[in-house]
């Protein structure tokens, strides 16, 4: 059937199983929006307040569903507004397709109105990008983009579609949804090698990240842990990968990780790392990182193996399939000495836990936990509230922690929480700070327009808390530009957007406010006052090691 490029684009999205897109219209993408109007019964477009919010929403949708998120924008500023969202998805390996309009091919390169070389701009932050030069390439380009975004290590793909390509017509034949490339296990010889190291280990520690969630390898990982009697820890991106209350789970490790988890990793003789990339926030000083351990590293992206830390055995392959190959070669064993040591670390951690009375950050998150359903997605922004959430949130199912781990994007949260609510078809939660929320609060308009049930918990301390913490510790308390002390009334602000909210300053008030929020029809803001000098602890100072860990203020 003979169709315009705009219709082909929308029909191909539908053909690929996409029923929800996020975006913002504009001059050079008008034809596509006209086609979205025609096909509004088959594909639901969510209009955000800003293209960045749309990109984060598509990202939150992808993180919670495992499907490819799709965001649409116009050329020029519309396209550049996507950049932070695309980079966020890139650093966290999230499958995302960004579609931008552009000026007609005849005007490309002439600095036309709202023309930008967006394929050039996004080259380093996409898995791949396409400039579609003719309408004949359009459908297959979109299909290839779906395959690329979801294959191997997922990531964002951008498609730049000039206006005349949207108008031009060509023959369109529907096809089956593109499949991700077939995952493969690591080579047998590597699996055998890894099995020998694992069978010889006396103090193994399983360390997993986002790769385990992507490949849905939870069961295999838990089987391995049972077989070798090992504790499990994770990176920020691994959170929600297994239930927080699993008896083998020690929590996140790293700069603000759980003491027991970081100590177990530090004292292990073998670290079995699954779908992680040993970021600097995880290792601290690499020369002093886990010096007693050998490292086995399984990752679908071969370039991660021995990129930052040396692995004795690097296995390139899908985590799930590789573990399936590995499990039969692993001998059942119990490691009572090692687990006694780990239990001691846990006991020490309990001593360090913040059990002060009042509305402490930890108590705020623990109070939130009581209200979370088994399937509730919790998004965060970036800063102290993100770390308090990572340390204390209780997860029951995978893909329910939505946080910018790699790029650390303040302003990510609200868009992502909206996308998560659409993805899970359930109420979602945003934990944010007054600083981060100030960067993205325009998306309250979106949440109100679509009556998105999102509980927004602002941990309001009037300062940029994480930066302030560093200034306290490392910059002689020179609080340079981190004292916000703004006069914003977040409850009045919520009401002005058409939402509702309440301010709280005690744990009891917070509990009651959360009860209201989780019953509320639509977005609900809780402005929760937190002391400005609260710390995220424990803390490994940047470039430090476990010898430098700060577990209590005044250390």
């Amino acid at each position: 059937m003979l169709l315009s490029g705009a219709d082909i684009l929308v029909k191909t999205l539908i053909e690929q199983g996409c029923d929800t897109v996020f975006g913002y219209p504009g001059g050079q993408i008008l034809n596509v929006y006209d086609s979205l109007y025609t096909h509004q019964n088959e594909i639901h477009h969510i209009l955000t307040a800003h293209e960045q919010g749309a990109a984060h929403a598509a990202d939150g949708y992808a993180r919670t569903t495992g499907k490819v998120g799709v965001v649409i924008s116009t050329s020029g500023p519309g396209a550049t507004n996507l950049v932070t969202g695309i980079a966020t998805a890139y650093l966290d390996s999230i499958p995302l397709i960004a579609i931008c309009g552009n000026v007609p091919t005849t005007q490309i390169g002439s600095d036309s109105f709202q023309e930008i070389d967006i394929t050039g701009v996004t080259l380093p932050i996409t898995k791949h990008n396409y400039f579609v030069g003719s309408v004949e390439q359009l459908a297959d380009t979109v299909r290839e983009a779906f395959t690329l975004a979801s294959s191997g290590r997922p990531g964002p793909v951008l498609i730049d579609v000039p206006k005349d390509v949207q108008i031009a017509k060509c023959e369109y034949t529907p096809k089956q949804p593109a499949q991700a490339e077939k995952p493969y296990a690591a080579k047998d010889i590597r699996i055998k090698e890894a099995a020998e190291y694992i069978n010889a280990a006396t103090r193994p520690y399983i360390y997993f990240g986002g790769g385990v969630i992507t490949s849905a390898a939870q069961d295999e990982m838990l089987q391995l842990a049972e077989k070798i009697d090992a504790p499990i820890g994770c990176s920020l991106m691994g959170l929600s990968g297994i239930p927080t209350d699993h008896p083998r789970f020690l929590g996140m490790q790293g700069m603000h990780g759980h003491y027991a988890s970081s100590m177990a990793m530090h004292n292990a003789d073998l670290i079995i790392s699954l779908g992680v990339r040993f970021n600097d926030r995880v290792t601290g000083n690499r020369a002093k990182f886990a010096t007693k351990a050998k490292i086995i590293h399984i990752d679908v992206d071969g370039s991660e193996l021995s990129k930052t830390v040396n692995a004795v055995c690097g296995l390139r392959g899908d985590v799930k399939l590789t573990l399936q190959g590995l499990l039969p070669l692993i001998k059942q064993s119990s490691k009572s000495d090692w687990n006694a040591t780990v239990a001691r670390f846990r006991a020490e951690e309990d001593d360090y836990l913040d059990n002060r009375e009042g509305l402490t950050p930890r108590r705020a998150i623990l109070t939130l936990n009581k209200h979370l359903g088994a399937n509730t997605a919790v998004a965060t922004d970036v800063g102290q509230h993100q770390m308090w959430s990572a340390q204390n949130l209780s997860f029951k199912s995978p893909r329910r922690f939505v946080s910018s781990g790699g790029l650390g994007t303040m302003g990510f949260g609200l868009g992502a929480a909206i996308g998560a609510a659409f993805g899970t078809k359930e109420r979602s939660v945003l934990v944010t700070g007054d600083g981060s929320f100030g960067m993205c609060l325009n998306e309250l308009a979106t949440a109100v327009s679509y009556n998105v049930p999102v509980v927004i918990l602002i941990m309001n301390n009037g300062v940029l808390g994480m930066v302030r913490q560093w200034q306290t510790l490392f910059f002689n308390k020179h609080y340079s530009n981190t004292v916000l002390d703004r006069k914003t009334d977040f409850v009045a602000l919520a009401r002005s957007f058409g939402a509702d909210g309440v301010a709280v300053s005690t744990a009891e008030q917070l509990d009651a406010a959360l009860a209201t929020a989780f019953e509320h029809d639509g977005p609900f803001v809780i402005d929760c006052t937190i002391d400005k000098d609260e710390f995220v602890l424990p803390m490994l100072p940047p470039g430090g090691s476990m010898d430098d860990i700060i577990v209590k203020v005044g250390d």
Binding site: T119, L123, P124, K127, F131, G133, S303, L305
Partner: protein, 168 residues
């Protein structure tokens, strides 16, 4: 520090060289020489990359190249398993006192004189990059006005080709 030569078969598409060099730039890979050209098939271009580094550096560069969807195949070359060739144009000052010595050296290296004027002459040499280095070093005893070299191109010895190892 070792010198490595890697041939990369890429999809012959607009902007592909930019994708490859942009990756080198953002990951701080320092490249000594890079050539790109069409191949026996219009579908592919071939990039030859020469760089210095340790084994892990080389492996990381190759791993990162493989992540680019336009990269179809990569071959690592050694002096033993491959033929390499580079083209040099070198412009020398035409001084009667040194002219004969330079021409004797040129003859020994099979470099041809491709331009000649009262004050200068230009020599052309196509040879293994190390021989090209040797020749340039020899010329440093005289007055070099200008040098232009293409960077190395390489093919594997025998009948094996890079397209036999394409992995899409």
């Amino acid at each position: 520090m070792n010198r490595y030569t890697v041939a990369v078969l890429v999809r012959n598409q607009f902007g592909v060289l930019n994708r490859v060099t942009s990756m080198f730039r953002r990951r701080q890979f320092n490249i000594s020489a890079l050539t790109v050209s069409e191949t026996e098939s219009a579908e592919f271009s071939r990039i030859t990359v020469v760089f210095d580094g340790e084994e892990t550096y080389k492996q990381q560069l190759i791993n990162q190249l493989y992540k680019l969807p336009d990269v179809c195949s990569i071959k690592e070359f050694t002096a033993d398993n491959s033929i390499s060739c580079e083209l040099l144009l070198i412009k020398m000052q035409n001084d009667p006192a040194t002219r004969d010595d330079i021409h004797a050296a040129a003859e020994a290296f099979h470099a041809a004189t491709v331009d000649y004027s009262k004050d200068s002459f230009t020599l052309r040499l196509a040879d293994d990059p190390r021989r090209v280095d040797d020749f340039i070093n020899l010329m440093r005893d005289y007055k070099i006005l200008e040098i232009c070299r293409t960077g190395s191109v390489s093919l594997e010895k025998g009948s094996t080709t890079i397209r036999q190892t394409i992995n899409f």
